[in-house]
Amino acid sequence: MNYQDHPDDGTVTRELRDSLSELAVPERPPLAAITRQGRGHRRRRRLAGLCVAGAAACIALALGLAGVFGADPARSPGTIQTADFTLTSFSDGTVSLRLGQLFDPAALQRAFAHDRIPALVTTGTYCSSSPAAPDPTRDGVLPGSGPPPRGSRPPRPPIRGVLLTANFPVQPSQLAPSVDPVTVMINPAAMPSGTELFIGFYDLGHTVFVGVIYTGSHTCRAVQEPPGVPWR
């Protein structure tokens, strides 16, 4: 390799690729082991589908088959807790979502599915419906998250949802006990027919957006921050 005081991007890329090609990797596992593991995932997905059909059976199955869930979030009655979030179901049908860290949208979406709450959870993407779904802060979907007091923020843009900002760790090396969690209450019973929750995570600004979209007619676009952040 030629010495350069200031290697360019091409050199760095080549070095990285060379480093990678020299990595000795263990022999790949048998395909049968992968498919066996994959069948476990399929079973869990089917179970989630069955759960929609019967809540009591779902709870019994979920508790009885807790061991089947393997690395999925730890479950106790009414609560799904991971290192990233806690989703608690209450007897009145409401749930609280307490976010501590933001790295596994798929796990959060699975947790909502487990509680039979339709939700789309993404990172770096903002999804909205046209026409827009009703404002969840006004129709009781997000109780306690009503519109801000008059004068506390300019009236535009009219965001239909809540923005949560906190000291979320955005990379594993920053994970620390000093996490500043936030909690949002959700009332699924108030969600209009054909809608689902939309939860977007945004590294820039350490922001979470919680809103409601129509399941069948929404569009998503990549953004660094959701609308409304500059008015924070």
Binding site: L16, R17, L23, P26, G40, A107, P172, S173
Partner: protein, 167 residues
């Protein structure tokens, strides 16, 4: 598409993609042992929804990102075992020697998003637009992450080269 054809396609994908995916994840996370588990889990998930993954524009990227996401919680739970900081590099020394180790260790010190971009753009050779679509961010953001990552890695490479010349 029939089930047997699906199975054959997945088997072919698995055979061709295991090594590159495992290398990308191992280099990014710093632990071959963890990477092996994470990549196996990602391939299992790919098998479970193969009809969806097979239509993905970059199935290998899907596997790598799924593996990295699966590893995110491990990084927290097993931070003492995972080489995220320089003092941990020795623990993962099997990943390389000398210059390679320094560069890969520098890679693992990058923020998570920058590591993901490097894994997809550099290790899997995806173009900027495909990387952006896969990560759900704008192409300009991919360029920005890549530029920052390259700046950090250039500095590390220059130091490693200087040290190599000095030996």
């Amino acid at each position: 598409m029939g089930v047997s054809q699906d199975s054959a396609e997945f088997a072919e994908f698995f055979a061709a993609s295991w090594d590159p995916c495992l290398r990308a994840v191992a280099a990014t996370t710093g632990s071959m042992t963890l990477a092996e588990d994470q990549v196996a889990e990602a391939f299992a998930r790919a098998w479970a929804c193969w009809r969806k993954v097979s239509r993905h524009p970059a199935p290998r990227a899907w596997v790598v990102r799924t593996a990295l996401n699966a590893g995110a919680s491990w990084w927290q739970r097993r931070s003492k075992e995972t080489a995220l900081a320089s003092h941990d590099v020795a623990a993962a020394g099997s990943l390389g020697t000398g210059l390679d180790t320094a560069l890969l260790a520098a890679l693992r010190r990058l923020p998570a998003r920058q590591r993901e971009v490097v894994a997809l753009r550099v290790f899997l050779d995806l173009d900027i637009d495909t990387t952006a679509r896969h990560l759900g961010i704008a192409p300009g953001t991919v360029r920005a992450h890549l530029s920052r990552a390259m700046t950090a890695l250039r500095g590390e490479l220059a130091r490693a080269l200087t040290a190599e010349i000095g030996r």
